[in-house]
Structures are given as structure tokens and as C-alpha cells.
């Protein structure tokens, strides 16, 4: 194990020092939302962590059992304000699977574009949070500035910035608007240039890098077993991306790389998890370019939304999708009516935050925000 802190911890145990529980949250600058992290500290080192969630539990899944299928889509936006598009997409995809229908090609590509816009803006929100967690507000504001261009794309596409309510069962809400292709390509091009400024600010700064390096090591086995998914998992050597390995919609027809680090060593630190997300943003730009070309090739008058029955046949099914934060799954049990019998959401953060004990063990208190920033906390989907 590459963890250099283990001998230190062992030495401290022999010294029989006093241990102290420090409770961070539910209202704390590091917790982006309402949750509590109980940390047991021994001097500067964390030796135990106990996350407490549930302050935002709204009974989302129960509430859906009370609504018809179309009226759940705006609720899916409220699961996570950053990944609203992917959650609506996931929901619609699950219902389409239950209905056994295939949606038009154009809708698939529009969904890919919308998803990747959502991924970039969600990752930028995460980058902003990393900046503030490390004590630098410049990164926060620069990342927010870049994010604004992608939110503008959302506005152009469907009229809302964050709660998009865009995918529909059987397609998407509306066709791409006039000049949307041009705007997307422009936004992506300028983003790829502007992103380097933020990278210079973080990756060329010894302070940022040395704060993230060599802390919070996780092995591949740990990640897989604990259920840590998403970019955090790929930083630790798990070579798995649902977009590539279990493709949905038309992700198998676009060409992109899945950034994976430490494939051989199978141990990743905090900085590896950080780098994966930055590279993912660039890859998303590539996907957007290809998908926009495909949309252009399909033509203006192609169908983008098909009519679907309101009643879903009885049975169980599930959809699986690569959220910006990890693997999200919706499990739908239907009973033949126009309302779901049970709809379960597997949010990536819910499982990722349960790994915080393994992630925080052995790091210094000052590193805890940096380590937990890598799971990109979002409480709306955690507590549901």
C-alpha cells in the first residue's frame, strides 16, 4: 500500500493520544447541501468518519406512485439540479424500455448532446466546488463563468437553465431550435480554449497539486466492492464506463475515449480522481461535435418524438445510465396502469458518500474537503 500515513497512524496509536469527534454539518461550508460528517480525529489525522444523510428526504419514490408517467419528468429534474438532464433521460429511457419502443434516431442524438452539455456543466460545478473547498475563489468563479455558456445552451434548447424538463417518453420535448448547432459548436470551441486557463491555475500550481496528491488512496477492489462509481472509480483503475461498455441510446455510434488512470497499479489518489473529470469534459466536447454532425446529417424534418401509449404493461425493468457523478439506475415496477407501481432511483452519490469512511481514513483534517469534493456531493439525489 502506497499510503505513507500508515506508520504515522500506528505511532500515534502507541502514544495513546486523546481522540475527538468533530461534527461537520449539516450546515458547514464544506458540505454542499445538508449532510453531516462525523469525523474522529487524532491530532491532525482523521481515523474514522461517519456520514449522516437524510435531511432532504422527500419521499420522491413514493410520490411518483401517485402520478401518471408524463408528470414524473419534471420531478426527475429536481433530483439533482446539476444533472437534471441525465435523470430525465434515464427516466424516459426506463419507461421506453418498459413500453418496448424504440425512439427515433434524431431524438437519440439530441439526447446525447443534451446529456453531454449536462455532464460538462455538472463537472464545471464540481470544479467550482473543488476551488472553494481548497480555499481559492478564483477557480470557483472562472468555472462558473464557463458553466454559464452551457446553461445558455440549455436555455436555447428548451427554455430553462437548470430544471430542463426536456426529454420525453418517446423522444424529446422539441426539435433543436434554429442555429442551435452553430451555438453548440461555438460554445464547445471556446470552452476548450478557456478551460486551459483553469487548468493552468490548478495543475501548474504546486499548492493545488500537492494538496491532492498522495492522499486518500483507494484500490480497485475497494472501489468495486464499496460501490464507488463514476469518475472517482475510474481514477482508481476500474476500466468501466456505461456509455462504452453497456451503451444506451446511440453512444455506441460515437467515438470517444474513456479516461482511466492507474490501470496497472490499481491504486488511485485524490488527484487521479480529479484528473479524470477534467479529461471527461474534453471528451464530452468531442462527443457533442460528433452528435451535432449526426443531427445535421439526419435532416430537419426527421421525427424527434413519437407517440407513446399512456399505460405501461405490467412487469419490471430497469434503465442504467452514466450520470456525471457515476452509475445511476432507475428500477421500474409497473402494473399496467398509467402510474408506476414502484420507481426506485439508484443515485451514484448515495453509495459514493457511504464510502467516505474509507476515503477519509488517514487523511488530515485539512484534506477532508479536498477528498470529499471528488465525490461531487449533491443531496437532492442522495436523499431523494
Amino acid at each position: 500500500m502506497a499510503d505513507s500515513l500508515v506508520p504515522v497512524l500506528e505511532a500515534q496509536e502507541k502514544m495513546d493520544t486523546d481522540k475527538m469527534w468533530v461534527i461537520w454539518g449539516p450546515q458547514h461550508p464544506f458540505s454542499h447541501g445538508l449532510w453531516t460528517l462525523k469525523l474522529q480525529i487524532d491530532g491532525e489525522f482523521c481515523i474514522d468518519a461517519d456520514p449522516i444523510v437524510g435531511y432532504l428526504h422527500r419521499g420522491w419514490e413514493k410520490e411518483t406512485e401517485n402520478r401518471d408517467y408524463a408528470r414524473i419528468i419534471p420531478m426527475t429534474d429536481r433530483l439533482c439540479y446539476c444533472a437534471s438532464m441525465t435523470y430525465s433521460h434515464l427516466y424516459c429511457m426506463t419507461v421506453e424500455k418498459a413500453l418496448g419502443i424504440d425512439i427515433p434516431e434524431k431524438a437519440k442524438y439530441i439526447r446525447i448532446v443534451a446529456d453531454e452539455i449536462c455532464r460538462i456543466q455538472s463537472h464545471l460545478m464540481w470544479l467550482a466546488a473543488v476551488g472553494t473547498d481548497m480555499g481559492n475563489l478564483t477557480v470557483f468563479l472562472w468555472a462558473m463563468r464557463e458553466r454559464e455558456y452551457f446553461l445558455d445552451l440549455n436555455v436555447k434548447l428548451c427554455g430553462a437553465r437548470m430544471t430542463t424538463n426536456y426529454p420525453r417518453i418517446g423522444g424529446v420535448r422539441n426539435d433543436t431550435t434554429e442555429l442551435f448547432d452553430r451555438d453548440v459548436i461555438r460554445a464547445v470551441d471556446r470552452f476548450e480554449k478557456a478551460m486551459w486557463d483553469i487548468i493552468y491555475l490548478i495543475d501548474d500550481s504546486s499548492v493545488f497539486v500537492s494538496r491532492m496528491r498522495k492522499i486518500s488512496y483507494l484500490t480497485r477492489e475497494q472501489c468495486a466492492n464499496m460501490g464507488l462509481t463514476g469518475p472517482a472509480m475510474r481514477g482508481c483503475g476500474v476500466d468501466f464506463d456505461i456509455r462504452r461498455d453497456d451503451p444506451y441510446d446511440n453512444y455506441d455510434k460515437v467515438d470517444f475515449e474513456v479516461p482511466v488512470l492507474n490501470k496497472e497499479s490499481k491504486v488511485g489518489d485524490c488527484y487521479d480522481r480529479y484528473m479524470i473529470r477534467i479529461e471527461e469534459m474534453f471528451q464530452s466536447c468531442d462527443i457533442i461535435r460528433q452528435a451535432v454532425d449526426k443531427i445535421k446529417a439526419i435532416g430537419k424534418n426527421a421525427p424527434y418524438r413519437i407517440k407513446t401509449p399512456t399505460k405501461v404493461p405490467a412487469g419490471t425493468t430497469f434503465g442504467r445510465l452514466e450520470d456525471p457523478r457515476g452509475e445511476s439506475i432507475m428500477y421500474l415496477a409497473s402494473d399496467g396502469t398509467d402510474k408506476p407501481y414502484r420507481l426506485k432511483v439508484r443515485s451514484p452519490i448515495f453509495t459514493n458518500v457511504s464510502c467516505s469512511k474509507a476515503m477519509c481514513k488517514g487523511v488530515r483534517i485539512a484534506d477532508v474537503p479536498a477528498v470529499l469534493a471528488q465525490i461531487d456531493m449533491c443531496l437532492g439525489e442522495t436523499d431523494r
Binding site: I329, Y331, T351
Partner: protein, 154 residues
């Protein structure tokens, strides 16, 4: 024990599961999806086998569906080498809501099982810490059961 398959295909999974566990019923297979049904007594053993021999390293979801007379516990297990998922359903009768915990196999199932317990009342035996997670500690009912009506449903 049987040999270890790193990335078993759907057909392999089907045949292996049938030969190893005759009780396990394969309901449906699709591309990269296997849906199986398993009796309650065998569930832990089957999960252990799927984890050890079929290399399903990741437990995505543990959840339950309340069919009033019985509860169906659903395990969604995924393989990181080829993206195959097994949907393992276990029926638990309403009178005796007990099932073996799989937390010792997949640590990631810990919170999912806690959540399922607090929302449906299924007791996961041998779970390290079966406490309320999302709902307040004072709750004495299981809100996601069909018998629990929401205010708007009444």
C-alpha cells in the same frame, strides 16, 4: 468450487447458474441482461457464487417492491468487465420479512439494505448496522409500503 469466469456472457451465466443452482429460475435474458429468480434460503449462497465465480464485483442496487402479499427483494449486480447485469429477484413472504444480508459480500450494499429496511421493513440478517438512514429515528412505520397511504392518496 467451480472455476472463475472473469467476463461471462449471458449464455454462460444462464448455463452455469442452472447447473450450480437448480433452484434458480432464469426468467428472461436480453442483451447484457439476465433476470433470475431465487428462493430466499439460497439468496446469500447465490450472491456469493455470483461475486466469487462470475466476478460480479459491484452491487448496484438492493431494493424491494411491495406486492402486498409478498415483498420482492431485487438485487441488481453488475460486472465491470463486460457490462452484464444480473437482476436477481427474491420473494419474501409478508409474514416473515427476513433475508440474509449481502453486506459481507459487497460493502456497497450496506446503505441500500439500510434504506430498504427503513422504507419497507425487511430485516436483513447479519447486517452490521441496521439503523434508520433517511427517515427520522422516531419513525415506527415503513413509509414505502403500499399500506402506508400518503395524504394525497386518501
Amino acid at each position: 468450487m467451480a472455476e472463475v469466469y472473469q467476463s461471462p456472457t449471458v449464455e454462460e451465466i444462464q448455463s452455469i447458474l442452472k447447473s450450480e443452482f437448480p433452484e434458480v429460475e432464469i426468467l428472461e435474458t436480453k442483451e447484457r441482461r439476465v433476470k433470475a429468480k431465487c428462493p430466499r434460503e439460497k439468496s446469500h449462497e447465490v450472491c456469493q457464487f455470483i461475486h466469487d465465480n462470475l466476478t460480479f464485483e459491484h452491487c448496484s442496487v438492493v431494493t424491494a417492491v411491495d406486492y402486498v402479499d409478498h415483498l420482492m427483494i431485487v438485487y441488481l449486480l453488475s460486472n465491470y468487465y463486460n457490462g452484464v447485469m444480473i437482476d436477481l429477484d427474491v420473494d419474501v413472504p409478508d409474514e416473515d420479512l427476513h433475508i440474509d444480508s449481502v453486506t459481507d459480500i459487497w460493502q456497497g450494499a450496506n446503505w441500500h439494505e439500510r434504506e430498504t429496511w427503513e422504507l419497507f421493513g425487511v430485516v436483513f440478517d447479519n447486517h452490521p448496522r441496521l439503523e434508520r438512514l433517511l427517515t427520522p429515528k422516531t419513525y415506527e412505520f415503513f413509509p414505502f409500503r403500499k399500506s402506508y397511504k400518503m395524504r394525497s392518496q386518501e
